[in-house]
Symmetry: C2
Subunit: 115 residues, 2 copies
């Protein structure tokens, strides 16, 4: 397969900046309600279009399931293949809480002038 086209330093940085952030975004979404993968993808694309695609989201969801942070159930659809709905487990809720805390710390570090 082709490489991921690193291109210019700024584009490259945005890729790195998304790391971790998407996982936080997904867990927050699942904390609010049930979602299936394709719906999350479309929400991401419409929500400002920050460059996140299926190739990023589906592996992420698999990872979360393996780690026991989310669980799934299949629901048949009349407009295509079955949808896989994701929801938070208790462990997922605990981790989301930790992540929210750490994220606040990171942001406060950025806001400090440290001059």
């Amino acid at each position: 397969m082709s490489p991921s086209t690193p291109q210019d330093p700024f584009q490259n940085w945005t890729v790195q900046a998304r790391k971790g952030l998407l996982e936080l975004w997904v867990l927050r979404a699942l904390a609010a309600s049930e979602w299936y993968g394709y719906d999350l993808v479309n929400s991401l694309i419409s929500d400002g279009s920050l460059g996140i695609t299926e190739g990023t989201l589906y592996p992420l969801l698999s990872r979360l399931r393996v780690q026991g942070l989310v669980s799934t159930r299949l629901v048949e659809s009349s407009s295509g293949p079955a949808r896989k709905y994701y929801h938070l487990t208790p462990a997922g809720k605990r981790q989301l809480s930790q992540m929210n805390q750490y994220w606040t710390q990171l942001n406060s570090m950025l806001e400090t002038p440290h001059d």
Copy 2:
């Protein structure tokens, strides 16, 4: 050398969450004044201690120099080896401006309830 000890999912996530963020932090620091590497490290350690060490910072500074975002000058010190001071180039200032903008977008995505 030993592996990076992945440990639990949360610790792993914090590593990912730092990616990109440290670069933004460094460029912001250099936008305010001149710094040398060791001083930045100590500032990071004292500033909340988020797990960032020399092994992360020095390669980052090298990268920024290769990309032309910062330039350096050596200054002799009376308390040890010479210090390498970093400051922003015009290209660095332009990229920092883009990064600040993108970072705002990412944060607004997180704050949107998207429910």
